[in-house]
Symmetry: C2
Subunit: 231 residues, 2 copies
């Protein structure tokens, strides 16, 4: 039974950009699994209604519809226990939850400040009004005004990556010698930014940039082949 | 061979307060190990010179002097593999490093804002000048001025705990069903604050407060018995 994955795209069907979908893409590759990609737009809620909610990633495995990148990772881990573990066995699964908390609650919400207008620019035209309206309500101003001073926030953003920098001081991946779901959870945010925007979040000599480079190179350059958005 | 642990104390020898020493106290208890406590003050660098550096915790095991709470945890894990694991096996050790990064780089440095004057107040008199001088240089003002507006920073601090809150949504401990070194790494900061100050960092209904309560109760109330400082 072949797997299907609904992934968020913009005007280019071949360039998924959601940080959460990238977690799942990397998880599938980690397990050595292929999946048929189904490009999906924000306003196509009906296409994934069988999942019982309105967001992607959604993985379809036969008659099973599984949403949420964490739940999908758990599903893959349980269904394919003989393939490389996503959590590193032992307490790895429980310990990986904090990475979700940090990536969702700190990292990705900080990245919005830098790329939200660039996200809007590359959206499918039918999504643009929906996205602008919901996001401008959230930030209380136009997207243009919101990102206008993004340079001013860059130092604070980079300072906030200290936990990653410290963790990567003694090991190439958050998971240790080899990458794990914890790496993909965090990497999703950087890949999202890179896919929609040419704004450089990381200084070239930041160890976090070196780690991102290692993630971009995994699985034959799966993530690295997705080019930066060039406007 | 009995273990000895140098722990930072203030004017009360029986009340260790360093967040890093608490990581080690909890780790020893987790492994079911006792240790003779040696109260230590900031200015007693010579007493621990055999460790090759000037900070605590320092664990002495026969002729071995081991410093740094992470290195001590690794040492205990390797020396006592048959006792409950501190890292939860598998990739747990590698995945726990990010917790150190977050606790050192974000949590503990944020807590300073609220408790640094209270730390000074309860110090051993011989440490007071040293501490005030080094910390005031670091923050660029008197300790009194630094903490004067701490209430203003409380909301931001609590918002910054979102990663913990999200991680603890589905499990009682960061390590899962049972606490691990990852829990002790983070808990150290809260125990430090509680030991030196009556300033309440957490709202009573915060799930992080409930988790802290579970940590305080562990090992027969080891951490909970250390009373709050009352001035």
């Amino acid at each position: 039974m072949s797997l299907k994955l609904f992934e968020l795209v913009g005007s280019d069907d071949t360039r998924p950009f959601s940080p959460y979908c990238w977690r799942t893409r990397m998880a599938l590759a980690h397990k050595g699994l292929g999946a048929e990609t189904i490009p999906w737009c924000f306003t196509e809620k009906e296409a994934i209604s069988a999942s019982g909610q309105g967001r992607v990633p959604v993985l379809v495995d036969g008659d099973k519809w599984i949403s949420d990148s964490w739940t999908i990772a758990e599903y893959l881990e349980e269904k394919y226990p003989d393939r490389p573990s996503l959590f590193g066995d032992g307490a790895g699964r429980a310990l990986s939850r904090f990475y979700v908390g940090w990536a969702d609650g700190v990292l990705n919400s900080s990245i919005v400040r830098f790329v939200v207008l660039d996200v809007w620019k590359q959206l499918n035209p039918k999504d643009k009004d929906y996205f602008r309206k919901t996001r401008e309500e959230r930030v209380g101003m136009t997207l243009e005004a919101y990102v206008a001073e993004r340079e001013k926030y860059l130092k604070g953003f980079r300072d906030g990556l200290m936990p990653l920098r410290l963790a990567l001081k003694n090991q190439p991946f958050l998971g240790g010698d080899k990458p794990l779901q914890a790496d993909y959870i965090v990497f999703g945010g950087f890949q999202w930014a890179r896919t929609v925007s040419d704004f450089e979040l990381l200084a070239a000599d930041d160890p976090v940039a070196a780690w991102r480079g290692r993630l971009l190179a995994l699985f034959g350059g799966l993530a690295g082949k997705n080019p930066s958005y060039s406007g």
